[in-house]
């Protein structure tokens, strides 16, 4: 798998390129997951307050 190794080494810049992409992936995931989780919790809270069984 020399081509995979080549790909991962990014011509010697792997130590900069991959952390940048990894961090971008983390920011994207947090931006997606956080509002969805909070919205679900808020909806459950509103339902509970109004005594509507979900």
């Amino acid at each position: 798998m020399s081509s995979l190794h080549e790909f991962l080494s990014m011509g010697g810049y792997g130590a900069f390129v991959w952390p940048a992409y990894g961090l971008a992936a983390m920011v994207v995931v947090v931006n997606i997951v956080l509002p969805l989780k909070r919205l679900r919790r808020l909806k459950a809270d509103i339902r509970r307050r109004q005594g509507i069984a979900s």
Binding site: Y13, A20, L23, V27, N31, P35, L39, L42, K43
Partner: protein, 247 residues
Amino acid sequence: MDKYSWAWFHRFASPPYVYRVAELWAPWFAWIAGLLIAAGLYGGLWSSPPDYQQGDGFRIIYIHVPSAYLSMMCYGIVATASTIGLVWRMKIAHTVAVAAAPLGASFTFLALITGALWGKPMWGAYWVWDARLTSELILLFLYLGFIALSRAYEDSRSGDRAGAVLALVGVVNLPIIHYSVVWWSSLHQGSTKFFGGNADIQTSMLMPLLLMIFGFTCLFAACLAKRVQLELLGRERNAAWAAEAVR
């Protein structure tokens, strides 16, 4: 004038209407974002050739430029929504500004960190107190200030107005960021000319970049829609429409 001609606009002042629109649009933007970003990643990391000066190190461009662009575009949204909220006393506009600010802060942070990771191998330093870098850092502080200020009051209306004033004052930073590489001698490169006969960038590198820019924009739109929903429902949790919406 036809008295109904502004009806479409007035609907956007109605929380349940905006909530429904956001619910409807979010998945579409998310799917389009996923496709564009997947294609952009394939083009950016795999099929585009290494740069003639920077080798494979230049590939950070495919996340650095979209996040830097979004950091400024989002501030434009926060400032525009704040203006509408202040001038027309439209509560929903403030809601959009408050919903957009954390996203803008996250992309500003990403632009700064990816810039540092790009700067180290190319310039020899993670950080320099250069006009472009410093003004982008100020943008991050403006976002954080806006977020802190808009949450600092018991009454959300006071927080909305205080945050909006800060957002408007901070607008002066946007042209400074954009023209920083022209006005001051900067380590940061100038604007890249994308199109035309004397474009600075090859099509094989430009296509993935455009895909990533549009992909990130659609992703931003999807996240903003969900955050607007969250903010609206949180503020109007006691309204009749909220009970309907959570059923």
